[in-house]
């Protein structure tokens, strides 16, 4: 590889505004009615369905598909949202190829599963778009629960608590609620501001007071929340990006992928985002894929995604890897970074591999090697995450937790939603003083 003539080459508008807009269109366009009916017909309505068992939120998938078949789309949406209030977002972002669709018995029959994700979107979109309220709140309990975090775990917990009759105050660190749905997910997976539309739908149940720009540990302390509320739920995610711990990490042009993705998601005009001509992404997960693909969409000419282990250990699904490759991302395996090169601005990254050291030139380097929880010491922790019981209670009385910040968090929206739901059910049981079990 020849060294580029001028480095660093980092600038916005590498492609025209129209080209970039087109690149960020819906990854999987929604199904029309005929397509949905035909696809729904493919469902075998399995007994004790493997797809449902594979869904972290346990949506009764054959039943919701059956309702699509009979044109009972609202009933279908209710089946989905009753188990997973973020069924709309999950329909867009779930790695269905390793969840419900991997379990589909059609794989055995013809190696082509039912398109469960797209059908789920078909059933939920009309509800979220029209805002029709499917849920009624139980009689007021007189209890108030503090939910920390406005992401999938927190909002799922808040919604279920509201349905169960409790009042909820959500303390949200960011300017807008939604968490990673708003700031983390690749833009082409959730177009047209869907994350906010979904949040509005969730909040329309009533009884949920969202306070934005309130960060735990800075603007409000855990102890105050415990004292002022009947229960506290923490859905705070993993707020601190991991460091590589190698030379050159603080050079200009070395960026945490999650920070860049958040900025990109919020950018009205994505062509204003400066991107390098040559981009190196370090990591092997979904975030690494997302930043690599979006770098290409912004016009980066060469994008390298470098992972320290083999393809089987990558947490990005095979579908995501293929998506990156067909978008023009070169994926390199078994190459841990050795040092980042450059004086003020990054010029390249040196890697170690079985074949010896090699250098990839770079105008920008994205770190996508995971995040960790930000500064908690009062909880029982394991592997840097909060330990919870089956009901998502923590080691601290009156405090529950769920989502990425707990042991068992999987960095998936759907898992966070399930945690929030389970915690809400347990909080409700506890507040009502029902005996365990």
């Amino acid at each position: 590889m020849t060294r580029p003539a001028e480095q660093p080459d980092v600038r916005p508008s590498r492609l025209s505004r129209d080209e970039i807009e087109a690149n960020f269109q819906d990854l999987h366009p929604p199904l029309g009615r005929s397509e949905a009916l035909i696809e729904a017909d493919r469902c075998y309505f399995c007994f004790d369905a493997p797809c449902t068992a594979a869904c972290p939120t346990g949506i009764d998938i054959p039943v919701f598909i059956q309702k699509i078949r009979s044109d009972n789309v609202r009933g279908s949406g209710k089946t989905i949202l009753g188990e997973n209030i973020m069924g709309g977002m999950c329909a867009r972002v779930c790695p269905t190829e390793v969840l419900c669709e991997e379990a589909c018995v059609r794989n055995t029959h013809e190696e082509k599963p039912v398109e469960i994700g797209l059908l789920q979107r078909y059933a939920t979109d009309p509800i979220i778009d029209s805002g029709v309220q499917l849920f009624a709140r139980a009689a007021p309990s007189g209890k108030t629960v503090a939910v920390v975090g406005g992401g999938p775990a927190g909002l799922s917990c808040a919604h279920r608590l509201a349905v169960l009759g409790h009042n909820v105050v959500v303390f949200n660190r960011d300017e807008k609620p939604g968490g990673l749905n708003e700031y983390g997910i690749a833009a082409y997976k959730t177009v047209d501001d869907f994350a906010q539309t979904e949040v509005e739908y969730i909040l329309s149940i009533g009884g949920i007071d969202v306070r934005n720009n309130v960060a735990l540990g800075e603007d409000v302390q855990l102890r105050e929340l415990i004292d002022a509320h009947d229960a506290v739920f923490l859905g705070i995610g993993l707020s601190r990006a991991n460091d590589l711990g190698i030379e050159g990490e603080s050079l200009d042009g070395v960026v945490n992928a999650v920070d860049y993705i958040a900025e990109l998601r919020q950018a009205e005009d994505k062509s204003t985002m400066p991107i390098g001509r040559t981009v190196v992404v370090i990591g092997g997960g979904m975030t690494a894929i997302d930043i690599a693909v979006q770098s290409r969409h912004l016009g980066a000419e060469q994008v390298h995604m470098v992972y320290r282990r083999g393809p089987d250990e990558m947490s990005a699904s095979a579908f995501e890897q293929a998506l990156a490759q067909t978008t023009g991302v070169a994926i390199h395996h078994r190459a841990p970074p050795n040092r980042i090169l450059g004086d003020e601005h990054v010029t390249g990254v040196e890697f170690t591999s079985d074949g010896g050291r090699f250098v990839l030139f770079a105008d920008m380097v994205f770190k996508a090697i995971g995040q960790q929880i930000g500064g908690f010491s009062e909880f029982a922790m394991q592997d840097g995450r909060i330990v919870v019981d089956a009901g998502h209670g923590t080691s601290i009385d009156k405090v529950w937790a769920g989502g990425d910040c707990v042991v068992g968090g999987s960095d998936l929206t759907v898992t966070a939603v399930q945690h929030g739901k389970l915690a809400a059910i347990d909080i409700d049981r506890t507040l009502r003083g029902a005996p365990d079990g």
Binding site: F45, D48, P50, V105
Partner: protein, 424 residues
Amino acid sequence: MADLRTSFLGIESPNPFWLASAPPTDKAYNVNRAFEAGWGGAVWKTLGESGPPIVNVSGPRYGALHSNERRVIGFNNIELITDRPLETNLEEIRQVKRDWPDRALVASVMLPMNEAAWSKYLPMIEDTGCDGFELNFGCPHGMSERGMGAAVGQVPEYIQMATEWAKQATSLPVIVKLTPNVTNIVPPAKAALDGGADAVSLINTINSIMRVDYDSLTMYPTTDGMGTHGGYCGEAVKPIALNMVAEIARNADTAKLPVSGIGGITDWRDAVDFLALGASNVQICTAAMVYGFRIIDDLVDGLGTFLDDKGMTLAELVGKAVPSVTDWQYLNLNYVEKAVIDQDLCIECGRCHVVCEDTSHQAITSMVDGKRRFEVIDDACVGCNLCVSVCPVDGCITMRQVSDDDADKLNWTQHPNNPMRTTD
């Protein structure tokens, strides 16, 4: 490929597939297209008396029962007999027969219940050169309200009377088309035979309402807000038609009566069903109306290939399955089958389990040694065939005989539980 040439009542056709009397045979234009596509014959859309033409509704005439993929499974219509002048039809029949001498061309007729009409019109129609007549005693809507069609077909005495008039009025073969809107098909068939009919054709369409309109909550389809029952046909009616054909074929009084089989034939296998159960040829309408005339390719090719594979002639196929049809009371109650699930083919959908568990005999497992696995519990299985019917994988669940071939046979007429049993 096997020779499919057919002689039905002496009417020759290159294959046993005729278009039934219906919209596809209303005009020379359509029939010419059908013959170009390879159809063996056609029964011209039913002719009535001359005079003021028949008037059809100008709204929907057809309604369909769809699968989710919008495949037409069932179909109905409220169209009447031909609404074109008799003279026009006669002229076109004459021309088509002249242009296609090797194809069967039969005239369907519907006339009032007076002998004069039959003696007037049949010779006039015969003069076109057509090969025979089919008497429409089957249409269940409209014309039946005027004392024709099914109104005749539901009264055996009328069938016999009109058939006699027809036979007196023409020397050509006469086929009587029967309505299925009766409780027992044998008396009408017997009446046709007694009236001198050369053959019967069946079934005509079944009284039907397709559905309700979910917005207006009226029946659907309607004409200016009102609807009427139509005649049901298409794939969904085939089992009803097959039973009626077989009943005629296995009844001693009617067994010798040639049958032209009609009812939901869509591909060559449907034709095999009718032929094996006693029909000598078949007539088709709905499949052509749903897919167009080119379905004839598969019908001819599929039947020919099938006969080749079986090493049979078409004539040998006709009636082949009739001896296997009997009354329930003669079924061997000592014969035992049980289901077997091929684990290599099983995709583990569990449908067999849940239907057996919920609605039948709790004879299929869902777990074996803590693993999802579907196996037949022989002791509980009564061999009902439900699991075979619902399994989405063809050939995965089959029935296996478990009783001995040389075990004594025992039917209900001999069964000890039957107080009316015959004793030696």
